[in-house]
Assembly symmetry: none
Homo-oligomer: 224 residues x 4
DNA sequence: AATGAATGAGCCTTCATTCAT
DNA sequence: GATGAATGAAGGCTCATTCAT
């Protein structure tokens, strides 16, 4: 009661919606549960966000906005730092953004919401892609360009980027099942940096191998 | 009409359900649309599969069953073959199983359905994990054990496995967004083997690096 | 399996239907449950009895037929016996017919089915009234005529009959609630005759009082 | 339209539900018909009463509540009045509560609803028993205790109470069939008091007879 | 700014019945 | 004589949205 006087109704709704959309997905989540969790009226959601979809778009924007301001893509590493270090920062940033539980009910709250958008992007995701994801991807591309050297063609750059991102995202999206199959490497708040470190090393190895085999096999393998 | 005389109603329902569940997810999919697509009555779904959930479970079982019989985990490569070759087969198998469009309306039908289960596993997924996924994971573990050599501990094996699988799954799950961000490396039926080849090389590089750095840094990085 | 070879399918259905209709009522009972309980096919019910309603009519007829042949209205007492004794037999007969559990899953199986018909008589009950209930009522009327003496008018006979029957039926219909409110006087197989005895005495007292007060108050009280 | 402006939607629903539940029973009644009869939306029933079952429970509570406030158990007769007069009031009260048609579409609306609960008590009836029926029964028991004198044991009190109540309830429950078999003694609004008067006299006679025969036959007849 | 009441559309399921075999 | 498959109708319930206040 006390702290709710300083937090506005829309803010409470936004927080509850992030939680519930993340857990249940857009369709399965109901605005009634969100309203209840936010201690607000059902109609107030439509009042403040026009639509269930409008609320969802607001949640998404809020999520990426806070995520990138808390964990910037470079994680504080200078652009002049060696590309290996910048890759390390990039991967650490992704893991923290996807799996940090700050402000979320449980681990991987934001991760699951984002993973869902990768599966079936809603219209609300389009502006997010333009505003956050593409610039973020470009940073990775520039890091990889330096690492691969010799001005690598997109046919090599793109799969490399996807392999790096794929490992990161998989930890966010696969958490529930991973938890059921192995006790090790489960993404928890504590070992988050340790896992990021592993993915970094693995990726460095992968990138180097791609760089090495390029001269003799690129054309056969990657040419469109 | 002509080919429907030889295909039983349950089969038609199963095919339509796989398609629609894959596109819309369990909750958003409606049995009415499935029945319409299968040219069957709504009640016939309950008759043959008891439940919407029963139908979903049948789709899942059918999916993995057909997937693994069409593309076995070893893809025809002998168990005595060098581990590099078996890893290559393993990765190729995964890609084909996840992204092959045979019998599906659009590309990545099965992949999205499975990816969804990774996000929020339903009760129907539990038996699938036991029957298909765990054994499949064990095969990968045995391959990695050989590649890493020196009887690697689970703290190394597990993340390696996840990094390999993560890359494969990401292509299935991220397809819609990837398509929007880059023209290259989009998973299509034609370049499926080419992408598998890339992931194989990348993973070999990653695994080797992990193997190399193990002696001097294992304890700091991976110890629980 | 062994005894089912001598019992025909319609007979098995009839038995199961009596049980389930009695427990659940016409509407709530489903032919599927009946078919299952009878170890028969759902369609066989429609085959043998045309309708759910047809089955119900058959159950009703069967019920009264067996009931009255096992426990005749006079219960073996001669028509020349004193009316007190014949009333006693009449009441005992009703209790046994309504509450005997022979051939029924639980106590008061037939009673509840009949009580239900009193509440909302179906079309199937019409012939039962003509064939069984009216003749049965006429027997009671003739007993009461003798007991009341002086050729009593219908305005006195009818309520007397209803008061006697009311007590009997109430034990059948009210059993579930009675059981919740008192440990005594619950209609069980064992005390069935004891309860009948009580109702007999109570009714004799009631009838005598009506007989006594008739001369001076009949016209005011009962005239239509 | 005119009088509906002052009657709230829940009230209209409640009235219609009492009518239809009484006529068709819980299972056969449909909320759609109730909503139509109440000139309300189907969903409004779920909104105001949560459930079909919730609505039913509300109807039941409303029924007993209004019934006992309009026709109290003592019907205005003082507790110090002779037990004969109090029995008369008790019986008159029951008849009016069960058969009064005020606020009901047809005669015996409430009676049939209650009779149904005696046949197959729903969960919603449990609180009603505790709140209304048990206290009501206790009043009858105290009247009978005085009438029988000599501190009668429960083995005598209980059946006496059941015989009195049985006659009352039977008129409510048996109305449809009674109507088909005799033109006399049909419970209509007009002769309601006349019938109550008869049942009162009949019961007094019955109770007296039980009282008289007690000394010499109690043990044989009623002992458990 | 915010809410309680009410609504219409749609969903899953059940059920009695029919039909071809 | 009997059955498995299939169907159309209907029922209870949920949900996002709107409206008057």
């Amino acid at each position: 009661m006390l702290e709710q006087t300083t937090i506005t109704t829309p803010e409470r709704i936004l927080a509850a919606a992030g939680d519930i959309f993340g857990r249940d997905g857009f369709k399965a989540a109901t605005i009634r549960r969100i309203a209840d969790a936010a201690n607000a009226n059902v109609a107030s959601i439509n009042y403040h966000f026009r639509d269930k979809e409008g609320l969802y778009a607001a949640v998404l924007e809020n999520l990426f906005n806070k995520g990138f301001s808390r964990f910037p893509a470079d994680m504080g590493v200078e652009p002049e730092a060696p590309p290996e270090e910048r890759l390390r920062a990039f991967i650490r940033g992704m893991f923290h953004r996807l799996l940090s539980s700050e402000g979320w009910g449980g681990l991987s709250g934001p991760g699951r919401l984002i993973a869902r958008e990768f599966l079936e992007p809603t219209l609300s995701f389009e502006p997010i892609i333009e505003k956050y994801i593409k610039p973020h991807k470009d940073i990775l591309i520039s890091i990889l360009t330096e690492l691969l050297g010799d001005s690598p063609p997109p046919e090599i750059l793109a799969p490399c980027a996807l392999s790096v991102i794929g490992q990161c995202i998989y930890y966010a999206l696969g958490a529930p099942v991973i938890r059921k199959m192995t006790e090790h490497s489960n993404p928890t708040e504590e070992n988050l940096d340790r896992i990021a470190e592993f993915v970094w090393q693995f990726s460095l190895g992968g990138i180097n191998r791609i760089k090495e085999i390029r001269p003799r096999s690129t054309t056969q393998i990657f040419s469109a």
